[in-house]
Symmetry: C2
Subunit: 303 residues, 2 copies
């Protein structure tokens, strides 16, 4: 099953043509989830041919403009385009009021149903699940209430070793029990362990989005072993004090979290416009965590 | 004196990487004026190296997202960047409420003074003047209250034919009177007509911005003889009914206004995303008004 992240914007507050503000789309199977929505996200969607048709949930980390000023444009364009399917929008408190104020001033196209769900950015908890993923909040430390999001593939039903159905003459209730992970007691008294009946399970994959946070060591425990970690790296270690002062992290700090959490891959983003040469971010991070990549607008990263 | 329009966005509601939503900057002498501010205008400013330092007035035609959803991003970025100079923002009613709602949710950077000035989009009247230009509203016909803006260079003080100061032995009060356009009565009884004293005046230049309007024949009288007319052309004549229904114009209708008003040059913009080949817009307009150009993002047009 496809499990892929696409970056739509990778800069901090000052967007450029090459790097828009933060926005991402995560695709898992036949569903997609939008994560943050900085100004211009609608342009990137069009440019990268990403359809919002598969998106029914949008997750906003916090209410700074470079993470949410693209949302009203997308919602109103979807309305103009005739969307009728509902949209759920998760965020810390206050987003609904802003979006409604924006949509109220524009023309009264009949909008599709929008449900604004306020999450508690101080708690690490399950906030959403569908048949594909579970989504958890990741409390971050920023200048305003801010949460990351952890997307974990749901454990799927086990698959049978098909030849065993014949060998043990299994009926439908027995097969369903085995797919749920049960061992089977046969009529002749034999106990067949589940591992004899089903195929080895691929462990569920996970993506953690850690937007706008000061260095936060306990984050590592929440994102332990994830396949892909996006961690903001607004600054370099040389400006660590500036990072602390503004509620941001350095590339080295992002890599420290990745190493402590034993993640498979780290992707950096949310770069400050103050640095003419971003190559240094990668060097600084890879010195701590080698499997690091620089986020680029448009980049697709299989999880 | 420089009098130049730069286009930042030339598409209608669905922006693309090549054509953002409507936004323009008009530069007159050492001042610049922003006109409309669709999403992503901040990116175009950065791309085209247009400074907002020279901008103290922003003129918004109407409150559809593709004309104002870029404003909060620019204002908050200016605040982040340390701007202290005041900004005046002209628009039909309702903009202030939306912008304040957007700026309220974002972080409390001390903003610079912002003055929101509500204009009456049903009246053609003078709404602003500084030492450089006079700005008039142009009542348009759209689905929501909408106004165009006419920028006219102010009549500057006349310049003396310097040799005449010597010939007629003029003193300072006489020179100032001549520069104001007065004829001079000399002590010896001679009446010197002003044209003998001052140089021929270059007529004041004018730019008219006509955003989002159904075909409006009386517009021609308000923009008579302007040097440059921007007129929206969302549709082609083949879709004239669609244009009427949505409060928009066709390329042919834009050219009809330009011809009736005897303008020097017409620039088209606000193209619908429905047309794969925009070349037809130019053909349709030039058949009626030959001196027409297609607006392109980044294009600079001397007035």
């Amino acid at each position: 099953m496809q499990f892929e992240l696409q970056l739509l914007g990778t800069n901090a507050a000052f967007p450029t043509l090459a790097r828009f503000s933060t926005a991402q789309v995560l695709t898992v199977g036949n569903r997609s989830y939008m994560i943050d929505c900085g100004e211009g996200a609608i342009i990137r969607l069009q440019q990268y041919k990403v359809s919002m048709r598969k998106v029914s949930q949008i997750f906003i980390s916090h209410l700074h403009g470079d993470h949410c000023f693209g949302l009203a444009g997308i919602l109103s364009s979807l309305a103009l385009g005739g969307r009728t399917a509902p949209m759920q929008i998760f965020s810390p408190p206050g987003l609904k009021e802003m979006i409604i104020a924006q949509l109220n001033v524009i023309d009264a196209y009949e909008p599709f149903p929008m449900q604004f769900i306020v999450v508690d950015p101080t708690e690490h908890q399950l906030i959403f699940q569908d048949e594909t993923v579970e989504v958890f909040t990741l409390p971050l430390v920023h200048r305003v209430p801010c949460t990351g999001y952890l997307f974990r593939e749901r454990q799927r039903r086990l698959k049978m070793q098909k030849e065993k159905i014949q060998i043990y003459q299994l009926d439908l209730p027995q097969i369903l029990a085995a797919k749920k992970g049960e061992d089977l007691l046969l009529p002749d008294g034999r106990l067949i362990p589940n591992t004899e009946l089903t195929r080895e399970q691929i462990p569920p994959r996970a993506y953690a989005f850690c937007s706008d946070t000061a260095f936060l060591p306990q984050l590592a425990s929440w994102v332990q072993d994830v396949d892909l970690l996006y961690h903001e790296s607004t600054f370099l270690n040389a400006d660590a004090q500036k990072a602390t002062d503004t509620g941001h992290s350095t590339a080295g700090q992002a890599a420290t979290i990745a190493a402590a959490a034993n993640v498979k891959k780290l992707v950096l983003g949310h770069f400050s416009a103050r640095y003419p040469d971003l190559g240094v971010f990668l060097e600084e991070a890879q010195a701590v965590f080698p499997n690091t990549v620089m986020g680029e607008d448009g980049m697709k990263i299989p999880v």
